[in-house]
Structure formats: structure tokens, C-alpha cells
Symmetry: C2
Subunit: 294 residues, 2 copies
């Protein structure tokens, strides 16, 4: 992974614009899940390290724009670029990282380049859907999962598929693995927004619902509740919640096993991911994912 | 050009997300300078029409983000997307168009794809420079022109270069033509911001200076003025100007021939562009550019 970090710095150096390096250094690198996945699948070589660096630039760019969209002031416990330098700089920095990534992607040939570029289209459409869905309470789990696939899983799917292409493995199996990994990853993230505290998350807990995001546990809860309570839950959507209201939601989620059901769904997806590829290390990523507490 | 418009619609259809088509139809197509340039250089065939559509998607995406950055409420006399649908939607729509363009670009091979992708990096860096330069009064014409090259000319340069590559013409000569075309195009645009009225422009006149943009005529004026008047000009930077203040700037620009000098510089660039390619039609684009009044 050190080679990937070094490659990222090399790509930033090529931009020859000091502000970009400075701003990028303000970003927390995060778990580098996508880069790790690329190296796990394609092994460590010049091409795979470059691909890993590219997908991390794309992911960083998408988070920059995501934070502008969500008006998020923190990211991974650090102030977001839009909070410190303004949303203009965040939009432009994202554009610079995206275009740099695309410039490098062309050296991987049509198929790999198109796989990654298409996933960015999906990611952007997913983000737009997410914004539009936030306007009202969404109680449709299918619709939610479609959005989640586009917004989060498509890029991870593309990373796995492109890495398989790079080293002559079966792209379809790896794509399926990546897709299900991405979906379960995001569902676990959604669960942690409910079950973790602010300190662990690096952002306020139950932030998703406040922002208008009706994640899977809320959808399951809504569909389990009697009508009058359905309305109460709906009335709390996109509101600053009081302690009592948070307590009520958490109790009801406990009564109706909404978090457990979501976790079971993530686990089911993870099992499907395992079925597509027989690789202990890739199975371990899934196991760790399901066990993570932050 | 009708084939280009049709191709753009085809690309949008492929996105399979109705909102994108709706939003895109709200954009004014503009002069489609870049697409016309591609067809003029590379002729009309499947590949050139696709390339023309791609560069127009990229240009549209850059304007969407540009308007978010500049907090512009109008674009070509129509309300901007960030004004009607919010900056979130404008950012995402831009990302969707960019990524769609890149997905299609991969079919043109490494060199062309890289040429266009690199120009988008330049464009984004240029936009970021523009924002940063707007913080203070910039009196350095070299610095201004460097920014202009990145922000506006680089994409036009890339269009000309990629089109030449597509049909086996000399990419370097066409790149030079495109670069100088782009620079003189933007300088004329900057002049029109000063000399035209609101109705013709579709946005308030002398908007650039109000937004903090010290364009070439202002730089020339500043460097011609005596010290006390230099300070007066500086004090008006980034302000809502009164009628008297506007009058004062215009008079001083007349006294010191600031607009004429800018025009002469644009003309010089245009002559250089002509020297790089012997093609009557491409020369005509330059002549029309210098004569345009909006």
C-alpha cells in the first residue's frame, strides 16, 4: 500500500499545481478499501499499483463532491474541504482529481478504462438519486438498494472487475464479488450510523436520517410499524432529533429487529459474494467487514 | 451540426436516467464552437460526430461547475441550473456528463483520449486559479493569460489537436491554432463584458470585475494609470459598481485605450493562429470571432 500512496503523490506532482497537493494532504486517506482490493486481486505490479492509485483518486474526488452535496462539515473525523476551503474549491479539486484519473486510465486499454469510467457515471447518477430521494421519506427498499448499488457498489464492482481483467481472471465473477461487497459495505455503514456514537463515527450519530436519508433499518422499521407509528416516524424525517425521539426510534428498531434484519441482509449479500469467488483472502475482507464496529 | 445534437441526445439516452435529459434540455446549447471546430477539421463522419458530441458534453459539464463556482444565476440569458435546481444538482449533472464523455472517449485510443482528458485537468486547474486570483486585484497580464490558457484555451486546443489526430493531419499545428483561437476567443469575451449591454450579454454588464475577475482591459488600465488612480481602480474591485463608477472606468479605459490594446492583443493571437494553418474556413472562424458583437 505504500507504493500506492507514493504513486498517488507522483500523480499529484504531475499536476504541477501546489494548491492541489496541499489540499489533498488535508484529506484523510481512509481505509483505501478500493486500492487494497485491486492489489489483492491483481497482485502487486506497476500496472496494478497505478490502477489502485487511480481508483483512490476517483474515490477521493467523489467524496469531495459528495460532501459539497451533503453540506457535510466533517469527513472521517476531520473537517471537510468544503468546510475549510469552501465548496468552490471542493468542486474544482474533485474535477482535477477525476480528470487526472481519467488521463491515466487510458493506458489500460478500452475495456478497463470503460469499466471504471462507466462506474463513475453510475456513481454520479446514484448521488443525484440520493439527493432526490432525500426530499421525501422513501419506504421502498428496492428503490433504496438500486440507489446504493449506483452510489457505492458500482465503483467497487468496477475495481474488482478491472483488476480481474488486468491479470486474466474471470471479470464477471469478480464483478459480482465487488458488487455484493460494495452493497454489504454500505449497509453496514448505514447500520453503524445508528448503532455507533459520535466519537467512533467522527460525525454526529443518526446523521443519515437527519439528512433525509432513509436507510435500510428505517425502511424495515417503517414497514413493520402500525399506521399511527408509521406517521410518527415519517414526521421525524429530516428533523433535528431530540434525545427522546432518538430513544423512541432506537427502541422501536429493537422491538422490530430492524437493525438485525438489515445486518442479516448484508450477511446474505456477503455470502453471495463469497460464492462467486473461491479466495480465502477475499472472503476474509467480507468477514472483517461484517465484524467492523466503525 | 444536427448530427452532433442527435448524438448528444443518444449519449444522454444511454444514461437511462430521465432527470438528466430534462436538466440538459434546460441548458442553452450555445454556439457549439468546439463541436464545429471538430467537424471543420476532421470532416463529418461517425467518429468525428461522436468526438464533437463528447467535447460538447465536457464543455457543458465545465460550465455547470463554473456556474456553481461563480454563483452565477444566469447563463446565456437563461437561468443557470444551480439557480433553478440548486448547486447540488448542478455539481452532479456535471459529473454525470464528464464521466459519460470519458466513457466514450476510450474508443478513440490512448492519444486522443489522453489529449482530451489532460485538457480537462488543465481546465479544472485553470478554474481553481481563477477563483484564487479573484481574491485580490491581479495586475499581472502574464499570470492572467496563463490562467486563461488553462481555463478556456486548453480544451479548444485539445479539440483541434484531437481532430487533427483523427484524420491524420499535423496535431501540433492544429493544437497551436486551437490554443490561439481559444485565447483570443476569451479575450474578446472579456472585452464584450465591458463594451456590451446587459440585454446583449444575457447577464449584467461589467460582471467580471464585480466577481473579482481582473480581465486584460482592467490589467492594461491599471498599469497605465497614475498611482492615485491605480488605488481608485483597486478600491472598486469586487464591488457593486455605481453608475458613476462604471462611467469612470469606461472613460479611463477610453483615455488609455485599454480595450483597444486588449483587442489588438487578441488580433495578434489570431494572426498567429492563422499562420499555423493554411485553411480558409479556419481563418474565417477567427475573422468572425474578432468581429462578433456578442
Amino acid at each position: 500500500m505504500e507504493m500506492v500512496e507514493q504513486k498517488i503523490q507522483e500523480l499529484l506532482d504531475e499536476l504541477d499545481f501546489e494548491s492541489v497537493k496541499e489540499l489533498f494532504s488535508q484529506l484523510s486517506g481512509g481505509k483505501r478499501l478500493r486500492a487494497k482490493l485491486v492489489l489483492k486481486i491483481a497482485g502487486v505490479n506497476d500496472k496494478s499499483v497505478l490502477l489502485a492509485a487511480i481508483v483512490e483518486l476517483i474515490h477521493a474526488a467523489s467524496l469531495l463532491h459528495d460532501d459539497v452535496i451533503d453540506e457535510a462539515t466533517t469527513r472521517r473525523g476531520k473537517p471537510s474541504i468544503n468546510a475549510t476551503d469552501g465548496s468552490k474549491i471542493a468542486v474544482m479539486l474533485g474535477d482535477i482529481l477525476y480528470s487526472k484519473a481519467y488521463s491515466k486510465l487510458v493506458f489500460f486499454g478500452d475495456e478497463i478504462a470503460k469499466t471504471i469510467a462507466d462506474s463513475v457515471t453510475k456513481l454520479s447518477i446514484g448521488e443525484m438519486m440520493d439527493v432526490k430521494m432525500g426530499d421525501e421519506f422513501n419506504a421502498d427498499d428496492k428503490r433504496y438498494l438500486d440507489m446504493l448499488y449506483l452510489k457505492t457498489a458500482a465503483l467497487i464492482e468496477a475495481c474488482a472487475k478491472a483488476s480481474a481483467m488486468l491479470c486474466g481472471k474471470n471479470p464477471h465473477s469478480y464483478a459480482l464479488y465487488g458488487k455484493n461487497l460494495g452493497l454489504s459495505f454500505q449497509i453496514i455503514d448505514d447500520i453503524l450510523d445508528i448503532t455507533s456514537d459520535e466519537k467512533t463515527l467522527g460525525k454526529p450519530a443518526m446523521n443519515d436520517f437527519r439528512e433525509g436519508k432513509t436507510t435500510l433499518p428505517y425502511i424495515y422499521l417503517y414497514n413493520s410499524l402500525p399506521n399511527d407509528e408509521k406517521n410518527r416516524l415519517k414526521s421525524l424525517h429530516k428533523k433535528d432529533l431530540s434525545k427522546e425521539e432518538i430513544m423512541w426510534i432506537k427502541e422501536k428498531m429493537k422491538d422490530y429487529r430492524s437493525v438485525e434484519k438489515s445486518y442479516e441482509y448484508a450477511k446474505k449479500l456477503s455470502e453471495e459474494a463469497k460464492k462467486s469467488i473461491l479466495d480465502d483472502e477475499l472472503h476474509k475482507i467480507l468477514d472483517n467487514l461484517l465484524q467492523r464496529s466503525f
